[in-house]
Each structure stands twice: as structure tokens, then as C-alpha cells.
């Protein structure tokens, strides 16, 4: 590939869709709110459930519990053990996927119209009546421990961990959602049950459905699927205080290519300057070859395969972050070039031509996101979590177009902060000292 597929578009990827996407908001008799896009071309439904909270709900003693719980949901439920549950999923040809991140636990489901009721009954068992049999918990625990050990020797994972620990101190964001060898080894079945009560509740639920289903059908389906979940879960964590001291911090690891991640304070999704910052970021380090960082670090100097910056908006922290990887003898130069561009854009701003190009790209690319039931459902549920209205899709490009060069360059001046731009490097970088704030 000429470029790594960029998965990190983050928040804007969670912003929505093409103008023709017609979202209905429904409220079920049982009081569940959901967004629906009826789309009858293909006889199936994509259903997205989100529970706000995620691994941030772990206590310091039970790190990894929410993750262990999430990945054990499909390992036995009701009168089915893990095998019976999987066998039934296969018979129904339904696809359920359970994932958990810092701020959210997600359930993505696809099921056919022809056996929708049976599929929903099956999914409900995993959410409402999971068994968490000891042998299933132990089996998933073994997989998590294997991943924790692998991450400890993966420079990308190590770099992410080191940066989170530096930035977030004693906030839950400092921890890996998978926990540590010690905490995961010590987790009990009771911890898993507690995590289930804490994380899966109706007071933090968001729902979207796209596909072959009417509003009435969805309404009945959701009350049956989710009506018996507990009303409330555990309190959500508070705002994180950010420690971004600047400098370059090295974690030694014997590998040929150093991995660097970097961050400075970001900007809230609801802030009036958000769209200016979003455009600025695209110009500075968005996915294309045309970004300042890609041009300077890769195209002109061949220092990396990829360098990216992105706005990372978590529920309780906003970062302006990025990443790069270069051979050990070239990473210092790559970092120097990034720092130089960061400072240059802060003081000199960007050009009208760059802004115009960024607007054309971002407004043109927006409708391309809405290209299937699954992607639309994903966007619709993300919109709800960001507290956006159902008509946001129709107005989003106007917000992008309304940003002026003055806005962007003011945001560059006020928000880009080379002194707080903090690098963490994992590798054996030449010319960078371990654990010192070089530069």
C-alpha cells in the first residue's frame, strides 16, 4: 500500500452522513430512544448499541474487569454454555460483536429479516442473562493475559501506554483497558458480575438501527431486547487533568524502528472553534499526502512511511495527538521536522489555498461515509453520543464551509502549543536520551 489505511480519524468519523439519510427518532413504550434509518434493499438490519463508560469504570483494583466481562458476554448465556451459544449464533447466521474502549462498550449486531425475532432473543440472552461460567471466564482471561504480554513487547502498544500514563496520572485513562498481568490474574467471577452491573444499564444507552425494519417493529424489538436491563449503572469518571510537560521521553526497547506518539491539549467537540481546529488539523497532519507533516517528513525527506495528527476527543479529555515511526537513526530528525512544522504553523498560519483544498476534501468526503447499513448505523449512534441533532447531517458541511482563514489561523495561534507538544519514543533512537526531556 502506498499509505497505511488510517483508522484514527476518530471523532469526525463519528459525525454523520449524506443528506439523503433520513433519520427517524423513536421512543419505545418502555422509554428507550433510538434512531432508525429504514433501508429495504437488503433483508437484514444493522443494530448498534452503545453503553457510555467502558473500561474507565474499572476500579484500580479490578483493572481489566469490564474488558473481561465484555469479551465473556458471548461465552454462554441463559441455558446455553459457550458452545451452545456459538452453535445457536451459527444456526441463525447472525453476527454479534462486543467491544469495549475507554469511554464506551459497544455491541454491533447484524441479523436477517427471516429470523429476526429468534436472533434478537439470542442477543438478549447475552446482554441480560450472561452466565459468566468460571471456565469461560478463565478461558477469556487466558486470552487477555496473552494479549497483555504481547502488548508489552509491541512498540506501538508500549508507546500508547507510556503516553497515556504520562498524560493522565491517576485518571482511569492512564490505565490499559485490558488491565495488567496482576489485576487480570486476580479478577474473580464476582468482579465480572460487578462489572456487568456497572457497565450495561439503560441510563447510559444509545441505540441506532439501519435496514429492513419499520419503526413499530424496532420499537417492540428494543423493549424486548433491552427492557430488562437495570435502570442505572456505576457513576462515570470525572474530567481528566492533563499533564503535558513537553519534551521527548524515551522508553528504551530493542527494535530497529522507533515508534513515536505525541500530544498536546486539544479542543472540545462542542467548542465554537472545533471546526476551525478540525480543518487546521487536516492541513497539518490529516491522512493525505498533502498535509504539512506528510509532505515534510515523508515526501521531501523519506523519513517515514506515515505521519499523522488527529483531534482525539474522549468524554473526559481532549487531545491533539499524532504518531510517526522511523528507523532508530532517523527518528530524531523526524521529530525535529514535526516540531518545526508545529511551530511554523502556529506562528505563520496556513494559506487560503490550503484551507480551500481542505474544505473541498472534507465536504466531498463526508457523504462517502454513508455507504452501507453498518456504517450508517455506526455514525448514527456516534452522533447521539456526541449530542448532535438528527438533522446534523444536512448542516455539517455548512459548518465546515463557514470557517474562515482568520478563524483557522487564530486557532493555530491560540491552540497549537509547541511547548506542551510532548513526544514519547519507544525504540533505540540515536541522539535522544532515555527519560530526559530532550529538545
Amino acid at each position: 500500500m502506498i499509505r497505511a489505511a488510517l483508522v484514527a480519524i476518530g471523532l469526525l468519523a463519528a459525525l454523520p452522513a449524506r443528506a439523503e439519510v433520513e433519520i427517524q427518532e423513536i421512543t419505545t413504550p418502555g422509554g428507550i430512544t433510538a434512531w432508525l434509518v429504514e433501508e429495504n434493499s437488503n433483508p437484514f438490519v444493522a443494530l448498534e448499541l452503545r453503553f457510555r463508560g467502558g473500561t474507565s469504570l474499572d476500579t484500580p483494583e479490578t483493572l481489566g474487569a469490564v474488558s473481561l466481562m465484555t469479551h465473556t458476554l458471548e461465552e454462554g448465556a441463559g441455558d446455553m454454555d459457550a458452545n451452545a451459544f456459538a452453535t445457536r449464533s451459527e444456526e441463525l447466521a447472525a453476527s454479534f460483536s462486543y467491544n469495549v474502549y475507554d469511554d464506551v462498550l459497544s455491541v454491533s449486531a447484524k441479523f436477517l429479516t427471516e429470523n429476526r425475532d429468534e436472533a434478537v432473543t439470542h442477543l438478549r440472552e447475552s446482554l441480560v442473562n450472561p452466565r459468566f461460567d468460571q471456565d469461560a471466564v478463565d478461558r477469556v482471561r487466558g486470552q487477555m493475559l496473552s494479549i497483555i504480554q504481547s502488548d508489552a513487547k509491541d512498540p506501538n502498544a508500549q508507546a500508547g501506554r507510556a503516553l497515556d500514563q504520562l498524560i493522565f496520572g491517576d485518571h482511569p485513562y492512564a490505565n490499559s483497558g485490558d488491565g495488567t498481568l496482576e489485576t487480570v490474574t486476580a479478577l474473580t467471577r464476582e468482579d465480572v458480575l460487578a462489572a456487568h452491573k456497572a457497565a450495561i444499564a439503560r441510563d447510559r444507552l444509545y441505540v441506532s438501527a439501519v435496514g429492513d425494519i419499520t419503526a413499530d417493529e424496532l420499537s417492540a424489538l428494543l423493549d424486548r431486547l433491552l427492557g430488562d436491563l437495570p435502570e442505572t449503572g456505576a457513576p462515570l469518571p470525572g474530567r481528566a487533568e492533563l499533564n503535558l510537560p513537553g519534551g521527548t521521553h524515551v522508553t528504551p526497547f530493542a527494535t530497529p524502528q522507533s515508534v513515536a506518539v505525541f500530544a498536546q491539549p486539544g479542543i472540545d467537540r462542542d467548542h465554537e472553534d472545533f471546526f476551525a481546529a478540525y480543518l487546521l488539523n487536516h492541513i497539518l497532519g490529516g491522512g493525505g499526502f498533502e498535509s504539512r507533516l506528510m509532505t515534510e517528513v515523508r515526501e521531501k525527506r523519506g523519513l517515514t512511511y506515515g505521519v499523522y495528527a488527529y483531534l482525539a476527543n474522549k468524554d473526559n479529555a481532549d487531545l491533539w495527538a499524532g504518531s510517526v515511526a522511523s528507523a532508530n537513526d532517523r527518528i530524531a530528525e523526524a521529530i525535529e521536522v514535526i516540531r518545526d512544522q508545529w511551530a511554523r504553523v502556529q506562528t505563520e498560519g496556513v494559506t487560503q489555498a490550503e484551507l480551500d483544498d481542505a474544505k473541498t476534501y472534507l465536504t466531498g468526503a463526508y457523504p462517502l461515509r454513508f455507504d452501507g447499513n453498518g456504517p450508517i448505523a455506526n455514525i448514527a449512534v456516534g452522533m447521539q453520543m456526541d449530542d448532535l441533532p438528527t438533522d446534523y447531517i444536512a448542516t455539517r458541511n455548512d459548518k465546515v464551509m463557514a470557517v474562515t482563514l482568520e478563524d483557522v489561523n487564530r486557532v493555530a495561534r491560540d491552540y497549537l502549543d509547541p511547548d506542551k507538544l510532548t513526544f514519547v519514543v519507544v525504540g533505540q533512537p540515536d541522539g535522544l536520551m532515555p527519560d530526559t526531556a530532550a529538545n
Binding site: 449524506r18 456459538a86 496473552s146 513487547k153
Partner: protein, 457 residues
């Protein structure tokens, strides 16, 4: 915990440089009625065109697939197919370096490319009314590439950093290269797509242009256009932009060096201090899908799913549930290749179980399977899932485009692609067992142990 399965097995599997965005199993098969959506024709200069219609969103994907990949490189120039893929984003006689992608972006689209053993493909995803511009530019760089020595030097650094990122920093990827090299005694599938590092470092303008001039021509390409388009419109545009490019009469015969009889089981052990999780792998040489003769590949596809496709598979049941000796296990086979493919198995043992024990357990599972045969209920469920997958697949027009492009690039026909779902559905337990008895031949096998280096305190 199916998502995590992917996380661990990604260490073992690895799909070369094919697009991760569209990593697609052979089981996501054609929808009933997919033929209605798909039309195809051939231009006078020999260029194949496939159109996949989906009018739900005003979006189009243009893909151009060259029937040329890393396995078509000359000896000593490994990586040149992929290097050239990068260089195609440099200039032409009418486009400045970088202008191709910049133009796509200025039109709100995104573009990328990928290289594999059997093909190199370029694509853009963009609003449907920009298709003509995309065709004009893609046709331009098929024949008008302009490269400078400076382009070459900088981009060579980039692909070496790409190798660092994908391979050198990942002991699992380094090990995979060694296993492939041992699996193929004579065929270029044994050489990494990205290239051996020492040969990449020596790639220059001459190697890149030689590959370009040899392989890039309309009669060696497949155009796939998918999305909100009408076949007539695509035909007219394709004739305008691609149809005027003369065919290359000297296109080389695509006969690669073939494997001799493999008569010796091979074993590899690699140690690396960066290995956190040891595992054992086994691969067997296996036939690929052949035009008009895909039955054995269909049986192997189902065999791999039955053996190691998920939690209810034979390997998972024995190794993870009954004996509890594995954290993870799996089997996979992808028959969409031009020459001999492989059937692969892997076992990631739990702490305290040695690779020797894990390998012995894996061998026992195979031996027992050959004794007891196919569980018919399991096979029936698998076929139900395959039929459902056809319905789900209709939701992703890009994946359909990818499937046709890839199949045609390895030498299959539209008819082969459209026959594949019915062939999978028709596979009998006897055919699966016959394929299994044939493929599990130690003499064609490569067994690999990836281990942690013991660190002395």
C-alpha cells in the same frame, strides 16, 4: 471473544500487502442475484471491464487491477512491483509529482493502492460525478509515468521505512517471511511482496521502469467500477480514456517457475527477544481455484472453516475447550491465487504447554479428524452462514468490486466468480475428506516454531 481471536492470529496469519481495509475471506460469497448487479465487457485493446451497480449512495469506486504482482518480478529485484506502486503517485507528462492524489482529495475523494503476489491495484473512492476525471488520470499513469532519480531515492527510503514498520519491527512478520521461503522451493511466492531488504536497497529507476514497461498495459489490466453508475456510461468513458491506449503486443506469458515435487517436510525455529507469545504453525501446499475447476478449492475452503474457523471448530473444541492447552488456534485457506496456495494451521499454547506438546496436539486433531470425518450438523450450519454472508455482502459494494478484481487478476473468469457460491453450497462431506486426505501430506509441509529468546539474568 471473536474479535480478540483476530488480534492474536494476526500475528500468525498475515496477508502480505493486500488491503487491510478489504481483507475478505473467500466465504463472503456472491449474493443470489448478484449477477443482476454485475456486468462486464472487454475493450477492443483487450482491457477487461467489470461494473457493479449500487445506486443507494452517490458514490463510485474505480479500481484498476494489473495482472502483475511481486511473483512476476525478475530475480534479484524483489519489491520492485510494490516500489513501482508507490512511484505511480509521482508525476506523469501532464501531472506533477503528488498531483494525482491531491486532485483526488480536492474533489473530495480518497485514493490508495496495494500490491500482492499476483496483482497490483489502484483505487479511488469519490462522488459518482467525478468518475470521468478519475479515469482520465488513471489512464494517463498507465503509460505516461515520468520518474526522476530524486523521486527514486526518497521513495526508496519510504518503502524501507514501510518494511521497518510492517516487518522488521514484528518478529511474527519476520518469521512468516522465513516460512514462506521454506514453503516454496522454486516459486516466487517464497519471496516477500515488499521485498528482501538487501534487494530493496538496490532498486533503482531502471528496475522500476523495466517492470512498468513490461506489465502496465490495457491488455494486462482489469477495470472495476462500482457504485452509482450505469454500465453504458462506464463503457463510453472507458472507451474514451482506456480504449485509446494501444495493447502491448509483447506482454510476457505469465508462466512463473513452478514448484517441483516437494518430498521433504521442513521445520523452522526462530527465536527473538521481542516474542511475547510463542506459537506453532503448519502449512501445506494446496491447490488454488482454477478456471472452470474450483471444486477442490471449495472443499478446502470448507475444510479450513470446519477445522479452525471459530469457537465451534474442531481445533478450537479439542485444544481450547477439551484439552485446554491452547489460548488460540485456527486454520485458514485462501484459494484465490494464480499458482499453488497453502492450507495453514496454528496453535498458540497456554502458559506451561511447550510448542512440542502443542504441535503434537495439533497433529492428533488432524489425525482424529481424518478418522471421524465431517460433523454434518456443523457443515450445515456453515453453509447457512455462507448463504447469509451473501446477503450481508450486498451491503458493501467495495467488497464486491474487490472480489471480482482479485479473481480476474489471478486468471479466473466472471463465470468462475459467480459459480463459486453454488460450488461451496454443493460440497459434500466426502469431497471434504478427500481434499483433507490429499492436502495433509507431510512431504509438502512446513512446521514453524516461534519462540522467546531465553534471556540470561
Amino acid at each position: 471473544m471473536h474479535n480478540r481471536i483476530t488480534a492474536i492470529l494476526a500475528l500468525v496469519a498475515g496477508l502480505g500487502l493486500t488491503s487491510p481495509a478489504w481483507a475478505q475471506s473467500d466465504t463472503a460469497i456472491d449474493a443470489a442475484g448478484e449477477a443482476d448487479q454485475v456486468s462486464h465487457f472487454t475493450l477492443d485493446n483487450g482491457m477487461d471491464v467489470v461494473v457493479v451497480e449500487d445506486h443507494r449512495a452517490p458514490v463510485v469506486v474505480q479500481m484498476i487491477w494489473y495482472r502483475a504482482g511481486s511473483a512476476d518480478e525478475k530475480p534479484g529485484a524483489s519489491g520492485v512491483a510494490h516500489f513501482l506502486e508507490h512511484l505511480l503517485f509521482k508525476g506523469t507528462e501532464t501531472l506533477a509529482p503528488g498531483e494525482f492524489s491531491a486532485t483526488v482529495a480536492r474533489n473530495g475523494g480518497s485514493d490508495n493502492a496495494f500490491t500482492s503476489y499476483d496483482y497490483t491495484a489502484y483505487f479511488q473512492r469519490i462522488a459518482a460525478d467525478r468518475l470521468e476525471l478519475m479515469m482520465r488520470m488513471e489512464a494517463d499513469r498507465m503509460v505516461n509515468l515520468q520518474l526522476s532519480e530524486a523521486d527514486i531515492a526518497t521513495e526508496r527510503d519510504v518503502i524501507i521505512e514501510e518494511r521497518n514498520q510492517r516487518v522488521e519491527n514484528d518478529p511474527g512478520a519476520l518469521f512468516r517471511e522465513q516460512r514462506n521461503a521454506a514453503q516454496y522451493l522454486n516459486h516466487r511466492y517464497g519471496v516477500p511482496i515488499i521485498g528482501w531488504r538487501h534487494e530493496m536497497e538496490a532498486l533503482g529507476l531502471a528496475e522500476a521502469l523495466d517492470y512498468y514497461e513490461t506489465h502496465y498495459a490495457p491488455n494486462n489490466a482489469i477495470l472495476v467500477v462500482a457504485g452509482d453508475v450505469e454500465p453504458d456510461e462506464v463503457r463510453q468513458l472507458a472507451e474514451t480514456y482506456y480504449g485509446v491506449i494501444p495493447a502491448n503486443p509483447d506482454l510476457p506469458d505469465r508462466a512463473r517457475p513452478q514448484e517441483p515435487p516437494q518430498t521433504s517436510a521442513r521445520r523452522l525455529v526462530m527465536s527473538d527477544p521481542r516474542v511475547a507469545q510463542p506459537y506453532v504453525t503448519r502449512s501445506y501446499l494446496a491447490p488454488e481455484r482454477d478456471p472452470g475447476a474450483q471444486e477442490e478449492a471449495a472443499a478446502l475452503t470448507l475444510l479450513a472453516e470446519l477445522l479452525g474457523g471459530g469457537i465451534t471448530s474442531v481445533m478450537s473444541q479439542k485444544l481450547q475447550f477439551d484439552e485446554k492447552i491452547a489460548v488460540q488456534s485456527g486454520a485458514w485457506y485462501s484459494g484465490t491465487s494464480r499458482d499453488d496456495a497453502t492450507l495453514n494451521l496454528s496453535v498458540v499454547p497456554v502458559d506451561g504447554v511447550s510448542l512440542e506438546e502443542a504441535e503434537a496436539a495439533m497433529d492428533r486433531v488432524i489425525a482424529e479428524f481424518l478418522e471421524t470425518g465431517v460433523d454434518e450438523a456443523q457443515l450445515a450450519r456453515l453453509k447457512t452462514q455462507l448463504r447469509a454472508a451473501r446477503i450481508y455482502a450486498r451491503d458493501d459494494v467495495g467488497a464486491i468490486a474487490n472480489r471480482y478484481g482479485r479473481a480476474l487478476a489471478v486468471g479466473l473468469s466472471i463465470e468462475d466468480v459467480q459459480a463459486w457460491p453454488a460450488l461451496l453450497d454443493a460440497v459434500t462431506p466426502d469431497q471434504i475428506m478427500q481434499a483433507a486426505r490429499k492436502v495433509f501430506d507431510d512431504r509438502t509441509s512446513v512446521t514453524g516454531w516461534l519462540t522467546q529468546t531465553e534471556v540470561s539474568q
